[in-house]
């Protein structure tokens, strides 16, 4: 058996796929892993993979041209999932490798993604859905605060790496704003300078104190919003259970109107 240990990122995993194909070991003896092995097994050769952007781009280009944009996006979104391995589930990288090799074998990406009976395809489907769902939630739940220097700042704690999706959405929506969404779990941020395109950056140099200096108007609009939020509730229909079912507790910590009360 040959197990490739990849970095937990889209580049890392796709580089793993590239190397696995380049080495030409027998298909059924290859596994990929996006985490360090916690337990070494006998008769297995562990091959560390160094993430290589160029190799990843080559794989991505192949996937897009052979199987279409939708197939690639499914793989991409699955790779962004924060669930690397579960107790009884297939490793993320292995599921992606398995799905890609099935698609290459049958030549039809759409058909492959529909064969949910295949464990690795089902895993990719689950991972992709989880990421998509959280991203969809956060499109609504992100709250920006206006800082002294006019930058709109937001901090979130997502399970999955959703910043690229959020960056794309908000830079289309707020082209004239300088904004920054800070993923505190991963310590990275998406930054958008007005009228330019967004980019990801790690936040070693982020001055946390500065993100607490708000503009003069900020408190005013925050309290206006909280006034609205309180008054829109119909008292006769009050239902706290339904409320936290719709906006789960783990999101509430970053949502302004849920901190005020």
């Amino acid at each position: 058996m040959y197990t490739y240990i990849c970095e937990n990122s889209i580049d890392g995993i796709l580089t793993g796929v590239y190397d696995a194909y380049a080495d030409r070991y027998p298909r059924n003896e290859i596994h990929l892993q996006a985490h360090e092995p916690d337990n070494l097994s006998l008769f297995t050769q562990y091959l560390p993979v160094k993430a290589d952007h160029e190799k990843a781009v080559k794989v991505a280009r192949t996937l897009k041209s052979r199987f279409g944009q939708e197939f690639y996006e499914t793989i991409y979104q699955a790779a962004m999932s924060g669930e690397v391995k579960g107790k009884s589930t297939i490793d993320k990288a292995d599921a992606i490798y398995g799905t890609i090799s099935l698609a290459l074998a049958c030549g039809d990406g759409t058909k492959t993604l529909l064969s949910l009976g295949e464990p690795c395809v089902y895993r990719v489907f689950e991972l992709c859905r989880a990421t998509g769902k959280e991203a969809m939630h956060l499109l609504g739940f992100v709250r920006f605060q206006e800082l002294e220097n006019g930058i709109l700042f937001s901090s979130i704690h997502p399970k999955h790496h959703v910043l690229p999706i959020l960056g794309e959405h908000f830079s289309d929506r707020l082209p004239e704003e300088n904004f920054m969404i800070y993923d505190e779990t991963r310590q990275i941020a998406v930054l958008h300078p007005a009228h330019k395109s967004f980019f990801l950056a790690d936040t070693d140099n982020l001055d946390v104190a500065q993100t607490k200096h708000f503009s003069a108007e900020e408190a005013h609009f925050q309290s206006l919003w909280i006034t609205f939020f309180r008054n829109i509730t119909i008292e006769a229909r009050k239902n706290a259970g339904l409320q936290s079912q719709m906006i789960p507790k783990r999101f509430q910590r970053d949502v302004l109107e849920f901190q005020a009360s």
Binding site: S154, R173, I247
Partner: protein, 455 residues
């Protein structure tokens, strides 16, 4: 001075939010529109929920009234001119500031603007138009706008406004003309249906224009809009997210069958996107109306919405779900299960062969699952394990389906037996509603269901 203005705006917002909250629709769906690289705003077809209020309802739009002054005296409405309560009016600029400042902080998806009637329907509609015009033009706002059309206002005003809004709605208020006469003497069915028809025609004309890709607007009415508001119909569509309406349930004695028939004809004849139901809450203390119940009839509302989905997504007709002899929905079972139990002769259906339309009618299979089944069975025969992965609710579906000719368990296809089994499924009455006061009802009160009487 500054402080004074701020607290003034706060007070207005409190009053005019309070006055608007009984309007049901808060959806921001139906239109896909990319940003334009300036100003702010885009729109996504599925809509986005930004928060959830204490009653669990989605907050997507800033839902406010322009003013809660009103010359009408509709008995069910708290803004009724005979009611003694604080009144306030926003200026168009105040609304624009709130919308844009909330929007850039990502509190909201856009604006939902309604209003009490000031002076006359035309004057009111004019104020709504002015606000939208300012918001779109001066504030360069490209997000979602849902605006109420005021019954009785002039067709021109309605049209100008329609080019600025994404969705328009006119409240039907009450399911029958009779109810409207008694409770809202200032309104009548005709002034409600006429603008509804006008909006429908406007939407269809727009679609026609688009399909012909006309480079210049040809019809007279379009050019009037262009002259008046500087609106270019090539760039801006008329009410692109369609129109909706709502009616109040429980203030008048209509049964569920009548309500579903009205709903169905609204979809058929007026091509509405949505019909919303609003459970009546007695706010005016009017003793000719039903008294405030301990908990509003949320379960009834829930069943009506379930049936509404069956009409819109599952190709059901109102007459299949209810009739003169059974005019109300079953309290214990959702309308689809209820229907299936009365049509056991059609079941079980084979998952690997049944047509899409047939799959839609199986309890426990939603339209997404049905679509996935049809796609997935092209690549191989499906079994119960696969259905689970696809998202089918097997605890409901298993009585009605076979996979590769076999049922999941040996099941007697018999109404009594299946009903009892389905009733053990707690989700038939959603948790939120069970907790809101329906728990005292015994789920096994089968006499209510009329099962034993049939024997």
């Amino acid at each position: 001075m500054e402080l004074c203005i701020q607290s003034d705006l706060m007070e207005k917002l409190a009053i005019l939010t309070d006055a608007a909250k009984y309007d049901v629709a808060c959806t921001s769906s139906g239109v896909d529109r990319a940003g334009r690289g300036h100003g702010m705003g885009n729109a996504l077809a599925p809509g986005i929920c930004h928060s959830f209020a204490g009653d669990g309802r989605c907050i997507s739009l800033l839902k406010i009234l322009m003013t809660n002054h009103c010359i009408y005296n509709c008995a069910y409405c708290q803004n009724n001119c005979n009611n003694d309560l604080p009144r306030a009016t926003f200026t168009p600029d105040e609304i624009c500031t709130l919308v844009t400042q909330f929007y850039r902080r990502n509190y909201i998806e856009g604006l939902f603007l309604s209003s009490g009637i000031v002076d006359s329907p035309d004057r009111t509609m004019e104020l709504l138009f002015q606000t939208l015009y300012l918001l779109r033009r001066r504030y360069d706002f490209n997000g979602y706008i849902h605006v109420k059309a005021i019954p009785g206002s002039s067709p021109q005003l309605l049209e100008y406004t329609g080019y600025l809004a994404d969705r328009m709605s006119i409240n039907l208020e009450l399911p029958t003309a009779e109810g409207l006469r008694t409770l809202a003497p200032c309104k009548n069915r005709k002034t409600i249906l006429r603008p509804m028809r006008q909006i429908q025609n406007g939407i269809q004309a727009g679609a026609l224009l688009e399909s012909h890709e006309l480079s210049a607007p040809s019809s007279h009415s379009l050019s009037a809009a262009v002259r008046f508001a500087g609106i270019d119909p090539r760039q801006k569509r008329f009410v692109p997210a369609g129109q909706s309406t709502q009616m109040i349930i429980g203030a008048t004695p209509e049964n569920d069958y009548q309500i579903m028939k009205v709903t169905e004809s609204l979809y058929d004849r007026f091509a509405l996107k949505r019909v919303f139901f609003s459970t009546f809450v007695n706010l005016t203390g009017d003793d000719t109306l039903p008294a405030p119940a301990a908990t509003p009839a949320l379960l009834r509302e829930h069943r009506l919405y379930q049936a509404d989905w069956l009409l819109r997504y599952y190709h059901f007709r109102a007459d299949e779900l209810l009739d003169e002899t059974r005019p109300d929905f079953n309290v214990y079972l959702d309308p689809k299960c209820d229907w299936a139990l009365r049509h056991l002769e059609l079941f079980p259906v084979e998952i690997n062969r049944a047509a899409y339309q047939t799959l839609l009618r199986v309890p426990g299979i939603g339209y997404l699952s049905a679509r996935r089944i049809v796609a997935a069975r092209r690549t191989g025969l499906l079994d119960f394990e696969d259905l689970k992965k696809i998202g089918v609710v097997l605890k409901r579906a298993l009585y009605f389906i076979t996979c590769k000719g076999r049922m999941m368990y040996p099941v007697r296809i018999e109404e009594d037996y299946i009903t009892r089994q389905l009733l053990t499924d707690k989700t038939q009455i959603p948790k939120e509603i069970r907790h809101a006061g329906y728990e005292q009802l015994s789920l096994f009160d089968t006499a209510f269901l009329g099962i034993n009487q049939a024997v």
